[in-house]
Every structure is written in structure tokens, then in C-alpha cells.
């Protein structure tokens, strides 16, 4: 037992003993107190006690207190009057806290089930009704056991109201929300009280303002008393919710009455609020609450979401993100300042409906009554009235059936309406249920698995290559080994796919970016996205975000013209930026295309010349000129805006993409638009490589960069004095480098004219060179390994690969080799 707990138990014992000495209490109670003191004494003396005994002790204590305050209350019935005064929190010992915590955790899932049941109940599902009632009853009991008298009596009232049919789905949902919100605060004296406001929340109209106004100082806003692992979970989960909110908000902007999106935002805000409340993250909780209230009004058709609502909600999303980021920083031990404008933002959220409330929209078709819909289909209203009367008088048949039997309605109409209703009942909640199930796994563990599988593939091929096994000529054995290696490969491929994620979330960020920038710059831009479900390695997805932001920003700022200019040029006022992702030829392509003014070839060249990056008298191809955009410090923007134009960025873009072993290509046509095509490897972990030999060393050349391999004839290699060798490749002059030369490989022979094999490679800029090696050994898939953190960057080498004999071979960095060769 912890030391602190012992002290608590001891103080408990003395309190109980004092109670026994007190006069004027019933004998039975005195006995109970004495027994409890005995139990507590046992615990205090350090004997091993089970959790169950603790629970018993606490229950006993609760019972004792209840009977003291209201001796007439029987033990198994929770108290109906909220007479209990909140006790000092220090009297609540840690065991009770523990119980409360467990209770709260359990209720969190059960509340979700409760909600499902409420919705089922609304549809007339008897089982749902049953579950609701049972849950209410259980909850009442649990509150009683936990000594939460006020809550217990609230539940009792709800039960009664339900029985008397004074309470409907809305009330139940509000109850669920209330309980969910307060679960985390039940251990505080404040959380124990069910205020009049709370009651009103459940029984009356929902409050439009967050009760309590600005709460607590920021220092108290993050309570780390709770388990940090909860916080870590919250950060991850919160991030998802924020993302969902943002996504749906953008949808709402286009279609303000999209029920599904409204509900999604509402639900996400609501969940955020609940989670934050549990972790006592007051700022997030309050922000979520105000956002939720706003969404609630949209949901109930009190307001229609306009641009200003979406704006303020998006601002709230940003604030959420800042808060969650801050939380993350705090968890990892950093410092962080809470956003200063939070109060103002919350104020505006509560205030965002300063517009007069819109007239309530007609209720959705699906929620209307059968009769109404039938009348619309041309059924005589009087017949419907008659049928309804019949129903009231005890006819248990559905309305539709009565009408059909009486010949007042035709079966086809009724069927149609019924199926419509069924459809409406299914969505959107039906949709949410069909979401693919996922498990959150730490990336580190995943990588360990992938590593281990990669190693087992190597181990397997080492076994296969073992000479003693090779000596055995046994067809059956070979078959078995082949089978095993096939399966191992399959597992490896599968493990690789674990790291693959869709690029959707990255694209999603762009739509927000484009929207904000376009507003800022007074441009009209439509963003089209294609292939958001294209999957690529998680690392790639994470690292491609920043480059994409830069490029999209550039397209918005420099690409798309102002509406007036566009009109003058005979283009539609609204500019268009397309983001595309697709798989092709073993790579992933991401395209950013705009229909703006295109790159200004001359301006770029002028700038490059003046910066000393290009020669004025040399002629450059279009592609070469466009690549100059990526040179550091080169910006053609005439004015530096806060959006872009400082000339930093594009070089970083290029660097980032190259770090992912990708390339960028620019196509542009003046006045029509430009497109940036990013080509990325499917996975960062495996490449197809050609194993080559130079001297006694082996190197791997990535197959993707190889154009062709040739064994040059005597006459095709020429030596240009002072410049080195060139190869005449079917009329193309290709510069040659000897791998042994640039890597100073110890040569076996005296370096006399061995021609070797030329591997013609192409770098990211389309520059070709021929690498001369002694021999091509084989083609192989290799797992790229970092060549050790302590090595830093080695020029010409991207990494190492463990070969089937267990040794390491180095993988060439073709881009760097080309660079070295041209030095």
C-alpha cells in the first residue's frame, strides 16, 4: 500500500471511531461503523486486501452516511431527495476516486450504447426501449452506490418521466450528454451537484450559453493529475476529430444545409467536449461547448450556417489545433502559451448567430408522418383521418395496411413511402456504423514488425544460398523451400501495406489553405481533388504536406490571376487548381495544376542570370529554365507578400521531395497554366535494384533511374581531352564516369583498358550519364537501410542493403553521382 493511502486509512479509522463514541445514534449504525473501522484497521495494518474488500468498505461507508442523513431511507433504494451536502473532497479517499474513475470509464462506452438504444427506441424498437429503461435503472443504482445522491435522484425523476411519457428522445439524449459531460468531474464537489440548470437541460430547453462564464485561470486548465496516457490518446483522437470537423465545415460551406455534415461537426464537437471534460481540459471543453451549441442550433434549423459561421468555426478549429498541439508540447515536457484570443473566439462563437434566426425549414420528408405523405400522393385526406381514428380505437394494423384494405390507397405508393422512410432512418447513423474497423498501433511497433519480417526474408535467402543446401539435389526440398519463401514474400508485401495510408488528409488541408488564401487575395478559386484515396507510405504522406503547401500557395498567389485579369484574358472568373494523385509505373504521382498565367520563362531566366545562377549567353531548354525556380533565393514575384514571394520555399520543396527519393517536374504554358508533377516512390523501404560489381566491391543501382545498359564497342567510347570520356549512345553523347574512380575502389588489374559495362542513368533533372562498372551481377529487390545514424550524409550513397550472404551493399544515390561526375 502507498504511504499516502495508509495515512488516509488511518484518518478514516479515527473518524469512524469518533463516530462510535458519539451519542444519540442508533445502535445498528454504531455496529456498522465499528465493523467498518475494523475493516479499515485491517487495511491500515498492511494486510493484503483485495480490491473487492475496498469496494465493500466504501459501499459500507456510503451506506452509513446515507443512513445518518436520512435514517428512513432503506438501503437498497437510492435516496430520492437531494439532501446531501457535498463533502470536503479530501475526505474522499483514493480508493473511492479509483472506483469513480472506473465507473466513468465504463459509462463512457455504455453511454454510447445507451445512445444507440435511444435512437432504436425512437424507431419503435421494443428492444431499444427495454435497454434504455434497464440502463437508466442500472445507472440510478450505480450513482446510489457511489454516493452520488443528487444524480441518483435525477435518474429517478427521468425514469418516472419516461414512464409517464413526459420524456422523449430529445430529453434522453440530453441526459446522455449531460452524464457524459460530467463523468470526468464527478469526483469534485461541484460535479456531485445536479444544479437546477442541469435539470433544465434534461427536462427543458437546452441552454444556449455555457453556464459559468470564463472559468478558471489558464494554469488550472491542464490537469496532469490524470494519467498522461489518456492525454496522449486524447491528442491522437482529438486530432482526428478536429480533422473531421474541418473537412465537414468545408463541405458545409458549399452546401450549408447538408444534414450529414452538420451532424458530423456536431458530434465531433460533442465528443471533443466530452473527452476534454474528462481530462479537465477546460479551454478545449469550453471551446467545444460553444462550437457545439452553434452547431446544435444549425442542427435544429434555428439558424442556417452562413459564411460567417463557417469562418468562426474554422477559426475555432485552428484554436483547437493550437490547444491540442500545446497539450502535446506539455506532455513532451516543452512549454507553451495558451492562445490569447480564446475568450474573444468563444464570445464570437456564442455570438455568431447575431443574424436574425431563419424561419424554421420544413421538417425533412422522412420524419413526416405516413398519413401526410399519403395525402401528398393523392390519397383522400378524409380516408386517412378515418384510418387514423380506427387505429386509435384499437386497430393494431399499420396505417398503410388499413388504407389499402379499405381501397383508399394503392399498395405501390405505400411501399414507396415505406422504403423512403426506411432509407431515411438508416442514414446518416447507418452510415457511421459501417465505418471500417481500425486499430491504433504505435508506428514504432509497426516498424519493428516490418524490420523483423525484412530480416526473416534475408535469413531465408541466406539459408537458400547456403552451399551445403545447394549441394543437396532434392526436388521435394526445393519445392518446400520455394513455397516457404513465396509465403514469406507475401507476408513482407503485406507488412509493407500496413504502412500505406491514403493521401486524403493531406489534400484536405489544401482545400482549407486554398479557401483562406483565395479570400485573402480576393481571388476566386475552385479546388478540384482527384485520387484522394491513393495510398502511399506514411512517411511520404507526412513529409509531402509541407512541399504541397508551398506549391499550392504558389499556385494561388502567382498562378491564378485576379478576377479582372482573368476576364480580360477571356478566362472564366473562377480560377481552378487541381490536385491529383495516382499510381503509375511503380511510382506515385501527385500533380498540382492551375489554369493561371503560367511561369514567366524570361523573367525566371533574367532573375537567374542576375543572381549568377545562369549564363546570359547560354541557351536553355524550357524544362531547364523552369527547374531554376527551385534554386535558392530566386523568386519572380514582383512584390513580396505575406503569402509567398520571398524566394525561400521552392528550394526547400525540392529538397524535401528529393529526401523522399522523389522528383518534381514543371510544365507550363504562358497564359494557360502550369502544372507541377511530383513523382514519389511507392514505399521508402524497398527498391528494385541492379547489383553491380566494381573491383571487389558491390553496389546497387536503383532500377528506376536506369535508362539502359550497354557493353560499349571499341569505337563508341571517345576521350575528350581534359574532360573525360564520352559514349556515343545511338547518336546521343553521354558522359561517362567510372564508379571505381569516383569511389576510389581498389582495382584488381592495372587499370588497362577494360571496357566494362555502362549503365546509363538519368537524374531528377533528366541529366544523363553513363556509370562504368566491371560487371552486372543480378537484379534484386532490396530493403533500404539507413547506414547508421552516426554517419550523417554520405555523398553518392543513399543507404545500405543487407544482401543474401549477410553482408552489406551500398545503394547509389544517382542524383549525387551525377553531381559528383560533373564537378
Amino acid at each position: 500500500m502507498e504511504k499516502g493511502e495508509t495515512t488516509l486509512v488511518n484518518s478514516l479509522i479515527s473518524q469512524l471511531e469518533a463516530l462510535c463514541e458519539m451519542g444519540g445514534i442508533p445502535g445498528a449504525m454504531r455496529t456498522l461503523a465499528r465493523r467498518l473501522a475494523g475493516m479499515a484497521g485491517g487495511i491500515g495494518s498492511g494486510a493484503e486486501v483485495s480490491q473487492k474488500e475496498f469496494a465493500k468498505l466504501i459501499q459500507g461507508l456510503a451506506k452509513l452516511q446515507r443512513s445518518m442523513e436520512d435514517p428512513s431511507t432503506s438501503d437498497d433504494r437510492p435516496q430520492a431527495t437531494p439532501a446531501m451536502a457535498p463533502r470536503e473532497s479530501n475526505a474522499r479517499d483514493s480508493e473511492e476516486m479509483d472506483l469513480l474513475e472506473r465507473f466513468a470509464n465504463r459509462q463512457r462506452t455504455e453511454l454510447e450504447e445507451f445512445e444507440v438504444a435511444i435512437l432504436e427506441r425512437e424507431k419503435g424498437n421494443a428492444a431499444g426501449d427495454e435497454i434504455v429503461k434497464r440502463y437508466l435503472h442500472t445507472l440510478k443504482g450505480e450513482f446510489g452506490v457511489l454516493d452520488l445522491g443528487e444524480w441518483s435522484s435525477l435518474l429517478h425523476e427521468v425514469e418516472t418521466a419516461l414512464e409517464e411519457k413526459r420524456m422523449g428522445t430529445e430529453g434522453l439524449l440530453r441526459l446522455k450528454d449531460l452524464v457524459g459531460d460530467r463523468l470526468g468531474t464527478l469526483n469534485s464537489s461541484q460535479g456531485r451537484i445536479v444544479s437546477a440548470e442541469d435539470r433544465q437541460t434534461v427536462f427543458g430547453a437546452p441552454p444556449s450559453q455555457f453556464p459559468g462564464g470564463p472559468a478558471t485561470d489558464p494554469a488550472a486548465s491542464t490537469n496532469f493529475a490524470s494519467d498522461p496516457s489518456f492525454l496522449v490518446d486524447f491528442i491522437a483522437e482529438g486530432g482526428d476529430h478536429i480533422h473531421n470537423i474541418e473537412k465537414s465545415l468545408l463541405k458545409l460551406e458549399l452546401n450549408p444545409t447538408d444534414e450529414e455534415s452538420i451532424n458530423l461537426v456536431f458530434r465531433s464537437c460533442h465528443t471533443l467536449k466530452g473527452l476534454a471534460a474528462f481530462l479537465e481540459l477546460k479551454d478545449i471543453q469550453r471551446l467545444a461547448h460553444s462550437a457545439e451549441s452553434l452547431m446544435d442550433r444549425a442542427r435544429n434549423h434555428v439558424i442556417v450556417l452562413g459564411g460567417q459561421h463557417v469562418d468562426v468555426l474554422l477559426e475555432a478549429t485552428d484554436a483547437f489545433r493550437t490547444l491540442v498541439d500545446g497539450l502535446e508540447k506539455q506532455v513532451t515536457g516543452g512549454t507553451w502559451e495558451p492562445p490569447a484570443n480564446l475568450e474573444a473566439l468563444i464570445g464570437r462563437l456564442c455570438d455568431a448567430d447575431y443574424l436574425p434566426p431563419m424561419p424554421a425549414l420544413p421538417p425533412e420528408k422522412s420524419t413526416r408522418m405516413m398519413g401526410e405523405l399519403l395525402v401528398e400522393k393523392g390519397v383522400d385526406p378524409e380516408a386517412v383521418e378515418r384510418a387514423l381514428r380506427e387505429q386509435k380505437e384499437g386497430d393494431t394494423r399499420p396505417l398503410g395496411e388499413i388504407l389499402i384494405r379499405a381501397g383508399d390507397a394503392n399498395p405501390r405508393d405505400v411501399g414507396q413511402i415505406l422504403s423512403q422512410k426506411a432509407q431515411a432512418a438508416k442514414s446518416p447513423d447507418g452510415k457511421a456504423l459501417s465505418v471500417e474497423e481500425t486499430i491504433r498501433v504505435p508506428v514504432q511497433r509497426l516498424d519493428l514488425l516490418i524490420d523483423a519480417i525484412g530480416e526473416s526474408v534475408i535469413a531465408q535467402s541466406m539459408v537458400w544460398a547456403d552451399p551445403s543446401l545447394q549441394a543437396v539435389r532434392d526436388l521435394a526440398l526445393e519445392k518446400k523451400i520455394a513455397q516457404a519463401s513465396l509465403m514469406l514474400r507475401q507476408i513482407q508485401e503485406l507488412s509493407m501495406s500496413l504502412r500505406m495510408v491514403g493521401i486524403r488528409s493531406t489534400f484536405q488541408k489544401m482545400s482549407r489553405l486554398v479557401r483562406d488564401l483565395a479570400r485573402k487575395l480576393d481571388k476566386q478559386i475552385e479546388l478540384c481533388m482527384e485520387g484522394e484515396d491513393t495510398e502511399l507510405d506514411k512517411t511520404v504522406v507526412e513529409n509531402i504536406g509541407d512541399p504541397l503547401v508551398h506549391m499550392v500557395r504558389n499556385s494561388v498567389d502567382h498562378g491564378i490571376e485576379l478576377p479582372a485579369e482573368r476576364l480580360k484574358a477571356g478566362k472564366p472568373v473562377q480560377g481552378r487548381i487541381s490536385l491529383r494523385a495516382y499510381h503509375k509505373a511503380g511510382s506515385v504521382f501527385i500533380e498540382i495544376e492551375d489554369d493561371g498565367k503560367g511561369l514567366d520563362r524570361d523573367a525566371i531566366l533574367r532573375k537567374a542570370v542576375s543572381a549568377g545562377k545562369a549564363k546570359a549567353d547560354q541557351s536553355y531548354s524550357d524544362a531547364e529554365v523552369y527547374q531554376m525556380v527551385f534554386l535558392p533565393g530566386l523568386s519572380t514575384a514582383k512584390t513580396v507578400t505575406d503569402v509567398s514571394g520571398r524566394g525561400v520555399g521552392m528550394d526547400v520543396v525540392k529538397k524535401n521531395i528529393e529526401a523522399l527519393r522523389g522528383t518534381v517536374e514543371i510544365r507550363s504554358e504562358k497564359g494557360i497554366g502550369s502544372s507541377f508533377v511530383i513523382r514519389l516512390p511507392l514505399t521508402l523501404a524497398i527498391i528494385q535494384g541492379m547489383v553491380v560489381r566494381s573491383g571487389r566491391e558491390r553496389y546497387i543501382v536503383p532500377t528506376l533511374s536506369i535508362l539502359t545498359t550497354v557493353r560499349p564497342d571499341e569505337g563508341s567510347v571517345h576521350t575528350v581531352v581534359g574532360k573525360g570520356e564520352v559514349l556515343n549512345l545511338r547518336g546521343d553523347i553521354v558522359r561517362l564516369v567510372r564508379l571505381g574512380g569516383i569511389f576510389s575502389v581498389a582495382t584488381e588489374n592495372d587499370g588497362s583498358d577494360t571496357q566494362g559495362v555502362v549503365i546509363v542513368v538519368e537524374d531528377a533533372f533528366g541529366k544523363k550519364i553513363g556509370i562504368v562498372v566491371d560487371e552486372i551481377l543480378e537484379q534484386q529487390q532490396v530493403v533500404i537501410k539507413n547506414i547508421g545514424g552516426g554517419m550523417g550524409q554520405v555523398p553518392g550513397i543513399t543507404g545500405g542493403a543487407v544482401m543474401s550472404d549477410g553482408s552489406v551493399s551500398l545503394i547509389l544515390d544517382v542524383g549525387a553521382v551525377v553531381k559528383i561526375a560533373s564537378e
Binding site: 524490420d451 547506414i787 545514424g789
Partner: protein
């Protein structure tokens, strides 16, 4: 790497402990045992081009590729023929972004010694021309003196500097 120097913990107090001693040329050195991950036989090393001499190359340590540094060359001794006693001490060094695993080639492993703090003296100052900052202290055991290395400094700081300088 000035930052690392500045952050150098106060070495005087906390140097007592177990050291793995090894021979390099004629000298005996000591390495904090907590930094040592394992000792492995010399195996085939893949040379990495365009790196300083003392970087012998990389090896496959159970599927992980780690760099191997020849401490002889690192300390300016002559390269020796590898013998059957030559081995690789795999160390974990602290680096700006975490722990890095590296191999160090030494001539011969001697023993693990528990050296009390009283037997450890600061490195004598040899004047500005000789770097002593990677020496944790001098351990006196009987008649012999062992040079106790601060392996973090020996490998992490300069290594990367040199390699990056080579690539620039």
C-alpha cells in the same frame, strides 16, 4: 558541436564505475560499461566511399546497418593488421537526436574494471595542440594508467562534423 561541450556534465563527481578496458597499440583505454552494447568478432566490413579513413565502413548487425570506426586511425595510430584478437565493440552513443549505435574496432579486449572515483584523475593538460576533451579522466590501477574515454565525444561530435565537411 560547441553546444555539446557546453552541455558537458560535471565529470569530476561521477566518474567512478565499471569500465571495459581494451588495448589499442601500446596504450590501455577504458570505456564506460553502460555505453557498451556488445562485443562482436571482426566480420566483413563494407567500405563506404568518400568518408574519412577512420570510418572503416558499415556492417550488418542482425539486420541493422551500423557504421564501424577504427579507433586506431581515429587516434592517429598506424593501421595494424587485423588479428584474431581484433574485435568490434558496439557502443551506444548519445547524439543530438537520440542514441546512435556504432562499432569501434580495437586491438584487444582486456577486462571489466571497477574503478573508484579516487583513482580517477583529470586528464593532464598537454597544451592547446592536443585535444583532451574526449578523455573522461585517467584511471590509475596499480602501476598502470588507463585512459578513460568519453565515447560520446570521441564518436558523435567530430564524426559527423568530419563526414559533413567531407561532403561539402
Amino acid at each position: 558541436m560547441t553546444e555539446m561541450v557546453a552541455n558537458r556534465p560535471e565529470v569530476a563527481g561521477n566518474r567512478a564505475g565499471k569500465y571495459l578496458t581494451f588495448r589499442l597499440g601500446e596504450e590501455e583505454f577504458g570505456l564506460e560499461i553502460l555505453k557498451v552494447q556488445e562485443i562482436i568478432q571482426l566480420q566483413s566490413i563494407t567500405r563506404v566511399p568518400r568518408t574519412p579513413d577512420y570510418v572503416r565502413g558499415v556492417i550488418n548487425l542482425r539486420g541493422k546497418v551500423i557504421p564501424v570506426v577504427d579507433l586506431r586511425l581515429k587516434f592517429g595510430l598506424l593501421r595494424a593488421q587485423d588479428t584474431e584478437r581484433t574485435c568490434i565493440v558496439v557502443v551506444q552513443i548519445r547524439h543530438a537526436d537520440g542514441v546512435v549505435v556504432m562499432g569501434t574496432i580495437i586491438d584487444e579486449v582486456r577486462e571489466v574494471l571497477d574503478i573508484p572515483g579516487a583513482s580517477i584523475e583529470d586528464a593532464p593538460s598537454f597544451g592547446a595542440s592536443i585535444e583532451t576533451e574526449f578523455i573522461l579522466g585517467m584511471g590509475k590501477i596499480g602501476q598502470s594508467v588507463k585512459i578513460l574515454l568519453d565515447i560520446d565525444k570521441v564518436l558523435s561530435g567530430q564524426e559527423i562534423n568530419h563526414i559533413q565537411a567531407a561532403s561539402a
